[in-house]
């Protein structure tokens, strides 16, 4: 199953499934690193949480075979919520579920609909967690990624290039959390001692956005 060559509506269920596979691989590969980042300013479980959630999501999607991109994302979100626990479970779960709902029932959607869906998802994260960019959370990767995606699409780039820009922005956003003092989540309890460490959730967000970029590039 390849992505549809139709550049007007490149995002179908297969695309999201390929993203899920790429994201799961990336999370598996980097799980130990994510847990390591969660050690000095957290509770040393972020990689384990993400790994458990994405493996479960992949299994759920294989079993239930959802047929629209929206349905795949909703199922991923539901599975993350019910298997991850912790802070990242409801947050990533909400992101995926909101995005999926936003995509509706359609078989395939164009790039700007994916962008809108992701924006709804990221808004959901901000709403649920009450954090803003600069608080040293996953939003510090997600929000710049979304802006880069939007800007590139508005500037006429295709989805693959726009997602590549988003991935770069997410990675930079994650790295930029290092000097920040955490204001939300577990790390915020450390006060000034949270400074000097990269946020694990922002780092996993960058992985997930990079997986989108990889999917679009390989499908293109």
């Amino acid at each position: 199953m390849n992505a549809t060559p139709d550049s007007e509506a490149p995002v179908d269920a297969a695309f999201v499934r390929r993203w899920l596979a790429a994201a799961t691989d990336a999370v598996e590969r980097d799980a130990a690193h994510l847990t390591e980042l969660d050690s000095p300013i957290g509770d040393a479980d972020h990689g384990t949480n993400m790994r458990r959630g994405f493996l479960a999501a992949r299994t759920a999607v294989e079993q239930e075979q959802p047929q629209t991109p929206g349905a795949v994302l909703v199922l991923v979100g539901r599975t993350l919520i019910s298997t991850v626990g912790g802070a990242s479970g409801p947050l990533y779960g909400t992101l995926m579920r909101r995005a999926g709902k936003e995509l509706g029932e359609e078989q395939a959607v164009p790039a700007d609909r994916l962008r809108d869906a992701l924006r709804a998802g990221v808004d959901g994260v901000a709403q649920l967690g009450g954090a803003a960019p600069g608080d040293k959370t996953m939003l510090d990767a997600l929000v710049p990624a979304l802006e880069a995606l939007s800007g590139a699409l508005d500037g006429g780039e295709d989805l693959a290039r726009a997602l590549a820009a988003a991935a770069a922005a997410a990675r930079e956003g994650a790295q930029a959390t290092t000097p920040l003092r955490a204001r939300k989540g577990r790390a915020s309890y450390l006060g000034e001692r949270s400074i000097g460490h990269q946020d694990p959730g922002a780092t996993s967000s960058a992985l997930l956005v990079a997986a989108f970029a990889d999917t679009a590039r390989e499908g293109a």
Binding site: D45, G85, A87, Y189
Partner: protein, 332 residues
């Protein structure tokens, strides 16, 4: 990493199976990760439910039984349970008078319990939640409020007793909030814990160092301090606890000296003795005590101190009979 486990992936399921064997009076659903009283739901009684990450045993599973929790939802190690899991437990212990969720104040726990509460209410179950936040280590640092630590055990015991007396849900929830408002905690660590899947200690400490203000998930503390005798550890903890909750001479308190997992009981008694002396010097009356490993951070060595300002009602509920794997007294 030196642990008596089979594999990091299976610790929670493996230990729940062991719990089921050790305590046949409990109903342990290993698959759904739900532990409830054998006689749940108790008709006409408010259900008392708590949950959170595993690795703190006996919290919460060891407090399921008459006079305390009706249900516990153990998450993965240091990871809050999922909404589905909490919903499942809520349904199993609803005796028609509603269910109280006792939640420790962590982003993840709060969000998952909120989602579960919404799901339960959508199914017609009355749910109230109280959020325990007693850790003074991070006061003023964050808008997230204090973390929930040792006071959780006290809230579970006292609310459990009230529910056993057939108090209605709103009154049990108000009581829970009263206990929370009157409890403060702080902890220190002599060693880090090791999360099984992380395979290495969360942080490292020198031979003559301790961490002050640690979290119950092995989070590093507010600051590092040179290792000092038990007497000074007690003073450091009590000073900060009482700075956050000033008490008048003559007030009555419960002191809870909790081991973090790898600390021998003998050492906890030594700390209690020092705490008692310091309370006495401040003119406070040490009315009740609890000393032991009641809320661990896996294999961390260290202790936490919780002080609860008692009133007569709380004391009577504290004294009420309880029969659980980890806390038992009185005629139940």
């Amino acid at each position: 990493m030196k642990k008596l486990i089979n594999s990091p992936e299976t610790v929670v399921a493996d230990s729940l199976r062991g719990l089921a064997i050790a305590h046949r009076e409990l109903s342990v659903d290993v698959g759904k990760r739900v532990v409830v009283r054998g006689d749940a739901p108790v008709p006409g009684k408010v259900g008392i439910l708590s949950g959170g990450g595993s690795g703190h045993e006996p919290l919460h599973v060891g407090y399921v039984g008459r006079g305390m929790l009706d249900a516990a939802c153990p998450g993965e190690i240091f990871t809050s349970p999922s909404p589905q899991q909490i919903l499942e437990a809520t349904r199993r212990v609803d005796g028609g008078r509603g269910v109280l969720h006792i939640v420790k104040n962590y982003t993840g726990d709060v969000m998952n319990f909120e989602m579960a509460g919404d799901l339960a209410r959508a199914r017609g179950i009355e749910v109230r939640a109280v959020t325990v936040g007693d850790d003074v280590a991070n006061d003023g640092l964050t808008t997230a409020g204090r973390r929930g630590v040792g006071a959780t055990v006290l809230v579970e015991k006292i609310c459990g007793a009230a529910a056993e007396r057939r108090w209605p849900l709103a009154r049990v929830a108000d009581l829970g909030n009263r206990v929370i408002a009157n409890a403060r905690s702080m902890g220190i660590a002599l060693t880090s814990c090791t999360v099984p899947s992380a395979r290495r200690p969360t942080f490292t400490l020198g031979e003559d160092e301790m961490e002050v203000g640690i979290g119950m998930h092995g989070e590093t503390g507010r600051f590092r301090h040179k290792l000092v005798p038990a007497r000074e550890v007690a003073a450091i903890l009590l000073d900060r606890v009482l700075a956050d909750m000033p008490l008048e001479p003559g007030e009555q308190v419960l002191a809870f000296v909790n081991g973090m997992g790898a600390t021998p009981l003998m050492e906890l008694y030594i700390v209690l003795d020092e705490v008692a002396r310091l309370l006495d010097a401040r003119g406070l009356t040490l009315q009740r005590t609890l000393t032991g490993t009641y809320m661990a951070a896996l294999d961390m060595a260290g202790c936490s101190l919780t002080v609860l300002r008692l009133d007569e009602e709380m004391t009577s509920l504290w004294d009420a009979p309880v029969a659980t794997p980890a806390l038992t007294w009185g005629t139940v």
